[in-house]
Every structure is written in structure tokens, then in C-alpha cells.
Symmetry: C2
Subunit: 333 residues, 2 copies
């Protein structure tokens, strides 16, 4: 069996949980302890990735360059990774600077049916002799066959691994098994899985992915991440070790890392009603807060708004549809 690569986006997806206000001290401590625990990969940056700090998405306390420099200084064996959504991150402003700062792995992401958008960024990274992964976000919205053809495109651009993201936490273990098995059967490169916990299945789905052939798994300390959070890293690693899989991680050092992260992040993510409904509806957790606000304004049930958004298959960036959905529901009432 191939060794599993655990990729830790606590300092990227986790930063959603603190509105991107991670401090210099948080990054210093976390990156030092991650290196010590033998983490394979540490992903760092704004919650929405490189170049995404903005008035609309929330401004990071520290710049991309500051965050990457701090972590770069503390990492030796652990590889430094970034999440890159073309559109937020430009090649010649953001990506070039990040590579100059010593980023090892660039994960270039698009909505699961829009792999074309990742071509230039993946090719640029490969041209600079760095590692590039392709990331398919909101992957529950496409069939195994569609995901397969999008992943093949990314492989064609030079991607060295494909990561399926369950951005809305909408998968059941059987879905994960089927899609990961299919991707592994048609690709020549490793496949990974990034879980969210909206239905309480982040760890269960990650184990299903590993059994189906995924060799890269994402998890964050205490599950810190957008909405209901990610797969809780230390529980994931414990469960993998318990099942006889190796991760190269020293578990007790990882447990300490998670305890420190809990102090830094102040409170753990919560699996509440709106997270659960967003998981069932297949809507990204980032919609929860604006949905709650707008539903209150229009005196409609925020859960009904979420279900309506699910029916309309919304993706991040379409937050204006919340208003439309709330208005429709308020007129029906």
C-alpha cells in the first residue's frame, strides 16, 4: 500500500474560523509544531486562497507574503503548500511572488466542471519546476464521469495529483468510494480527498476515500474550517493508524499541536442546524451567515432558503441569489 500523504490546511481553511485574523504568533507556533510532528504538507494563506484577501471576502490580518515567509522559515521536511483559485490569484502578481518565497506545492482549484480555468496556472507552476495539484471544488455536484473528464484535463495540463473537495459536506461514504475508485481507475496520478463535516461524516468519508485508493487526505486541527469545519486532523490520523495505515506523523506531537491550535482559534467549529441543512442541500457553508441575515430580514425560514439555494445549485460567488430565493419564499408565504 502507498504511504498516505496528510495535507494540513489548518492555516488556510481554518482561517475562515477566525475571519482570516491569524496572528504572526499563531503561524510561528503552528508551523514549528507541524514540522516537529512530521506533517507531510502544510497549506497556508487566506481562507479562500492566494490573493483572496479583500473587502468582499474578508481581509487577512497578515499579507500572503508575511504568512508564507513565517511558515517557510520553520519548515524543513514539511512541504509548504498554497490554495490558488484563478481569478483571485493572478500569475504575475501573486503566484510568481509565492513561488519566489519558496512554496513547494500549488493546489490550483476550480469549480468541479470548470477545469479549463486552471490550465494557465498549472502550466506556469510546472514551468517553474514546482509541484502542481488540480483541485475540483463542490465535487458532489458532478457525476463520476464528469469529474473524470475534468480531472483528465488537469492531468493533461501537468497536474501531479487531483484533489476532490466535498466543499459542502454533502457526500455519503458510498458516494466517496464510487467517485474515488473511478478517478483512481482512469488517472495516472494520485487522488486526494478534502472533507467537510456538515453531516458529521468528515472522518468517515476520509477513511472511505483512503480505502478506495486516495493517497492524499486533508484535515485540520480540531476540524477548524469554514462552517461545520473539516476532517478533524488528529482524529483522522488516529483512525488511520488504528486501521494500520501509516502517515509518517508522530501522533502525540500532533495531539499537542491540536491542543495549541484550540487555544489559538478559541472555539471549535459547531455542527449546528444550518450546517446540517447546508450539507443536505449541497450548498457551501460560506452561505450560512448571509442566508441567516437575509432570511431574518424577509421573515422566512433560513433552512427553507438554504434548501431553495440547493435546488438552484448555487456555488460560491452567487450570493446575490440568496436575496432572490428569500424574496420568492416570502411571497409564497
Amino acid at each position: 500500500m502507498h504511504p498516505l500523504i496528510i495535507s494540513d490546511p489548518t492555516l488556510r481553511d481554518g482561517s475562515h474560523a477566525v475571519k482570516h485574523q491569524l496572528t504572526r504568533e499563531n503561524l510561528e507556533l503552528y508551523s514549528r509544531m507541524a514540522e516537529k510532528a512530521g506533517m507531510a504538507v502544510l497549506e497556508v494563506g487566506h481562507g479562500n486562497g492566494l490573493g483572496a484577501s479583500s473587502l468582499q471576502l474578508g481581509e487577512s490580518l497578515l499579507s500572503d507574503a508575511e504568512m508564507l515567509s513565517i511558515c517557510r522559515n520553520n519548515l524543513r521536511r514539511t512541504r509548504l503548500s498554497i490554495h490558488v483559485i484563478p481569478g483571485f490569484a493572478t500569475i504575475h502578481r501573486d503566484l510568481q511572488a509565492a513561488l519566489e518565497l519558496g512554496v513547494d506545492i500549488v493546489r490550483v482549484a476550480s469549480h468541479c466542471t470548470e477545469a479549463d480555468l486552471t490550465k494557465r496556472h498549472i502550466e506556469y507552476v510546472r514551468g517553474q519546476n514546482r509541484t502542481a495539484y488540480g483541485v475540483l471544488m463542490m465535487s458532489h455536484m458532478a457525476s463520476a464521469e464528469v469529474l473524470g473528464s475534468e480531472a483528465l484535463k488537469m492531468q493533461g495540463y501537468g497536474a501531479q495529483a487531483i484533489i476532490l473537495m466535498d466543499s459542502a459536506g454533502a457526500y455519503l461514504p458510498g458516494d466517496v468510494t464510487a467517485k474515488i475508485q473511478y478517478l483512481c481507475s482512469i488517472l495516472d496520478i494520485p487522488v486526494g480527498f478534502h472533507a467537510h463535516n456538515n453531516l458529521g461524516l468528515a472522518i468517515g468519508n476520509s477513511l472511505a476515500a483512503a480505502e478506495a485508493g486516495a493517497t492524499i487526505l486533508d484535515g485540520t486541527a480540531r476540524g477548524f474550517g469554514a462552517g461545520a469545519g473539516n476532517a478533524q486532523l488528529e482524529a483522522l490520523v488516529a483512525a488511520l493508524h488504528h486501521s494500520g495505515r501509516d502517515t509518517g506523523i508522530e501522533l502525540y506531537a500532533l495531539l499537542e499541536l491540536a491542543e495549541q491550535a484550540e487555544i489559538a482559534f478559541a472555539k471549535a467549529p459547531k455542527l449546528g442546524s444550518m450546517s446540517i441543512v447546508s450539507g443536505m442541500a449541497g450548498v457551501f457553508s460560506g452561505f450560512v451567515k448571509p442566508v441567516e441575515r437575509i432570511a431574518k430580514e424577509y421573515c422566512v425560514d433560513p433552512k427553507a432558503v438554504m434548501v431553495e439555494l440547493g435546488r438552484r445549485k448555487v456555488v460560491a460567488g452567487q450570493e446575490d441569489l440568496i436575496l432572490e430565493a428569500a424574496l420568492t419564499l416570502s411571497q409564497q408565504a
Copy 2:
């Protein structure tokens, strides 16, 4: 497919989370809302079951009779259930009184290799024309074959269902699948599963149980329960509905119930380092607090004590072995 029976022990296993101090108001509100949501079964009492309120295990704020009477008054379609460990609950003092108060289902529990101990209690309940289940606790400690022969004994005594408890949260989904399938293949009565979340797998394991043939699943609001907690009821029901299974529960009413429970219980269970290590070691979560206290006293790592207790295969009631394990480790250091 058989309909799934969801059994909710929030007012029993959940009471561990508040040291058995559930108030009259908590019970009134929860039982009324559970009935409204269409819960099939509500399990009520001290965390360790009927007759277990004591100086050693913690005293309940309310007596068994008070708790059962309050809930009985509010339940119509929802059946009232109790957890009974022979030794804590006597037949002629505790069990007779509970049946007189109108309990519908009595779940008679023993360590997974000691089904013999449940014979008299199960036979008594059946003689009184009430429903009796057999419960095998700490079931990760026995093979499928051993669990099978113990379950057959319980079936022979008259048990009308067998519940496998993952008391230490030590199972992986594959273990659950294998054991539930085996039990379903040899028993004539329904099989159920009661999860704990020490490895973050409570929901994943519960879904695996349902797929393997289990038709009774336990879950508690927000996961309230001993240690790392149980399967989070509302996420479990959402995931089951998402997978096309029916539970008879009105999900939105259940989400409201869980929100109210969160207010009553004040804080959600946490999946911290010691919970994770206890899950890997296969030690019941109730050991966590005394282990932390004694390890500190002897200046040894509480995680090492937990692993040592797992090696010695301790079960509840053997807390005196903590001291012995800590002493041994401190002498090795």
C-alpha cells in the same frame, strides 16, 4: 427495507455530560419536543442506567421515578425506554417500580462476554409483557463469533433485539460492517448499534451499521454523552434521510430539539486528545478524568496510562487499575 428505529438516549447517556444534573425543566422540554419530532424511542435516567445514582457514580438531581414520570406524561407515540445494568438495578426494587411507572422498553446490558447476567432481568421484563432488548457493552473487545454466542443467549432469554455498544468509540467502519452482518445472519431478532465519537466516526459507523442490516440506531442531541459523546442525533438523521432511508422523524422539529438541548446542556462534547487516545486504546471514556488526575499525581503522561489500561483490557468498575498502571509507568520512568 425495514424502517429504521431511532432510539434517543440524550436524557440518559447525555446526562453524563452534565454529571446527571438534568432538571425537571430540561426533561419536560426535551420529552415534549421529542414526541413532537416523532422520535421512536426516548431513553431516560441516570447516565449509568436505572438504580445507578450513587456516591461513587454520581448522584442524579432527580430520582429515577421523577425522571420517568415527567417523560411518561409527555410521551404518546414515542416509547419510553430505560438502560438497565443488573447489579445497579435490582428487579424488585428498581425494575418493578419502573415498569409500574409505564416504561415500554427495557434495555438490559452487560459486558459483551457476560450475557448470562442479563437472564433474570430479561425474563422478568418479558413476564410483565414489556419489551426487552439485550445490550452488549464494550463490544469491540470480543470477536464477531463471541458476540454472536452471547447475543444468542440473550435471544434465548427472550430479548426482542440486540444492541451492540461501541462504548469506547474504538470501532472502524469495517469492524462495524463485519460484526453487524454476522449478528444479523445468525439472529432472528433485530440488531442495533450505539456509537461513541472518540475517533470521530460515530456517524460513519452508524451508517455502516445501517447498511449492514442494523435497524435500531442510537444518537443523542448534539452528541451529548460520556467523554467524546455519542452519534450526533440530528446529523445522523439528516445523513440517513440524505441516503434515502426513512426514520419517521420530522427533521426540522429535531433540529429545533437539538438547539434547545444545546442551551440546556450548556456545552457540546469535545473530541480532545484524551478522548482520541481512549478510542485507540479501547478504554471507556469514563476513565479519562480519573486517569488525568492520577497521572498528574504520579508525574506520568496520561496518554501512556490510557494505552497501558487498554493493554490490560480494563472495563468500567476497574478504576483501581489506573493507580497500578500509573505506578508502574512512574517506576519505569
